[in-house]
């Protein structure tokens, strides 16, 4: 029981990082109807930026600065490569983001080099006991930070002018345009927000084990998360992220014991299995809206 609870907390911790990444995907998807495959590169860039800045400014300012920096990079990408493609098939734009991802990652890798870079976080592998449970502090930090960010984000969408504009544009672009919403600004804002969230997620991925060239693969786990939750549901992204984190953590702890025939490291691919199972039952994810089909 103790082991199970500890596994769950680790799962929720990692899951909240996936939730941040998934939120970035969903925000871009809702605004532009495109899955941005550039998120892994932005996440990696965020982690690397923190690792470079942390020695100069200290950890917390470094996180804020990097998140703003990556938001700026995301804005630039949107302006240069995505805006000219408005009105083109979504598949084409998605592939463009795939190309951008490849390019940005090469540049970022040059800043990583051969070694593992530490992000200089105050948590490391420190452990803390809550009653009988012994868990790593970083899982708790991840959960707390995600809870705060998700709260702020939902408040932003619900209570601010720009949040309203984004919701309007996501609902119906042309009508929003007719009501005076600048859809271009909404696109830019959505990419900026996604970059900001990806950078924070990148920092958390780097806590403890550090950042290396292969770390970008972690961001792809947010893809099953958004599919499980439903591509166009912000709540679904958070739920999907947590589900993916917990499932992965459960497989990490128990698969070796109960299902060794699945092979080592099955936990890494378990989110994709969950995704396939969910899709077989609900083709639009758990919380996604069913597409209304017209000829």
């Amino acid at each position: 029981m103790k082991g199970l609870l500890e596994t769950l907390i680790r799962g929720l911790g990692n899951g909240s990082v996936y939730a941040l990444l998934a939120l970035g995907f969903v925000i871009i998807y809702k605004a532009t109807r495109v899955i941005s495959f550039a998120q892994p590169a932005l996440m990696l860039a965020g982690g690397v930026a923190v690792s470079h800045l942390t020695g100069v400014t200290g950890f917390y300012p470094a996180v804020l600065l990097s998140a703003l920096l990556i938001a700026g990079v995301a804005l630039a990408i949107e302006r240069v490569a995505i805006r000219p493609m408005v009105g083109r098939p979504v598949f084409v734009v998605a592939i463009i983001t795939l190309g951008i991802d490849v390019v940005v990652r090469v540049v970022v890798n040059a800043f990583i080099g051969r070694d593992v870079r530490q992000v200089g976080d105050p948590w490391g592998f420190m452990q803390v006991s809550i009653g009988p449970l012994v868990v790593q502090t970083r899982w708790l930090a991840m959960m707390a930070a995600t809870a705060v960010l998700v709260g702020l984000l939902f408040a932003f969408f619900r209570h601010t002018r720009y949040g309203l504009a984004m919701r309007a544009a996501a609902f119906d672009q042309e009508t929003a345009l007719a009501q005076g919403v600048s859809v271009g600004a909404v696109f830019a804002l959505s990419w900026g927000l996604a970059g900001f969230l990806a950078a924070i997620a990148g920092m958390f991925v780097g806590t403890g084990q550090g950042i290396e060239q292969m770390t970008w693969v972690v961001a792809l786990k947010a893809l099953p998360a958004i599919i499980v939750g439903g591509l166009d549901s912000l709540g679904g992204a958070v739920a999907g992220g947590l589900v993916v984190g917990v499932v992965e953590s459960l497989f990490q702890s128990y698969q070796g014991e109960y299902a060794p025939w699945l092979g080592q490291n099955f936990a890494v691919v378990s989110p994709y299995v969950v995704m396939l199972v969910v899709l077989l039952v609900r083709p639009y994810g758990l919380f996604g809206t069913r597409e209304v089909e017209r000829v």
Binding site: Y29, V34, I35, A81, P84, M85, R88, V90, F91, V92, A94, I95, I96, L98, G99, I100, D101, V102, V103, R105, V106, V107, N109, A110, R114, L220, L223, P224, I226, I227, L231, G263, Q264, N265, F266, V268, V269, Y272, V273, M275, L276, L279, L280, P283, Y284, E291, E293, R294, V295
Partner: protein
Amino acid sequence: MTRAAPHIPAGRSRRVRGRPLLYTSYTQDMALLDTPAKKTGTAVLVLLAFALAVLLQDRSLEVLAGAYALAIGAIGLNLVTGYAGQVSLGHAFFVAIGAYTAAALSGPPGGDTLGYGLAELWIWLPAAGLAAAAAGVLVAPLATRLRGLYLAVVTLGLVFLGEHVFKEWDELTGGPGVGREAAVPQLLGVRLDQDGPLGTKEQLLYTLMLTLLIVFAVAARNLARSRVGRAFAAIRDRDIAAAVIGVPLTRYKVLAFGISSFYAGCAGGLLYTISGYVEPGSFNLLLSVQFIAMVLIGGVATVSGSIAGALFISLLQPVTRSLPALVPFISADTTKTPNVFQVETVLYGLLIVLFLIFEPRGLYGLWIRVRNYWKAWPFSY
């Protein structure tokens, strides 16, 4: 009063001299090579391609042979993504199934890895295709339930699951970092991967790949202009509308995935005969992205474009490898920062982005522009 049905000329009717674009029958309009220019052009290209086997050095032939094998895979991806409009990021998975089926069938029995000793090409090549096609047909039901980007992400998941299975299944694949020997190309008792009386290893493999590429390309062109091809195009353009006019969606989506995977499987079986070695880590997302790049850079929904795209991507590597000699600040050393591998990867990404923004029809579109310019010359405005 009944009127006689209008006479529709069947078969090959006469061409009018000096009017290459005047079609006098449906068959003429639908012909693969519908103008004399295309006929001579294609004939010259094919002859030239075969002549290259004796004209080029072995090193270049090896690169081209690999490009032709990749082109078969790219045509497969273009059938499902370009013609039928079903976005698949899972092509690497089907390529892997083909590669391992071929390797296992033709491998020596009783070695470290599975092998059945059936080295004849005409046994393992169709088998590799069929095994991959079977996997494609199994995946296809998902495609009938999902649309657009949901499908792209699911096929992406397939690559990761496949990579995991192949890394774990040591008996078949030799395990990550170790790998196994690839399929043995033997045709009627002649080993094509060894120098022999008929030519060097590279010459033999080059000729084999070229011949097979022509067979697969013609088959794909014929498929695309048949009833099946028209159904694919209808589904791509608007699947509900296609269903309304009587195209059975499920059947044709399954068919598209099956055929595409067959091509991928054959390409996988052939591709690794050149290096003679398969490593399970090579069937990753990057391979899928490379196939997507070939299709997009070459030209969506064109067979000739797929071939051009495959050649382009394959030749990119030797070209970037020769850059350090020309551009002094690019290093061949992987530990230096602007090195050839980085340049190569950046080029993949940039080329995809630039082609999509500036010439969505790809290399094929560039060719159309050039052709139209000269067709109308000197009134090219």
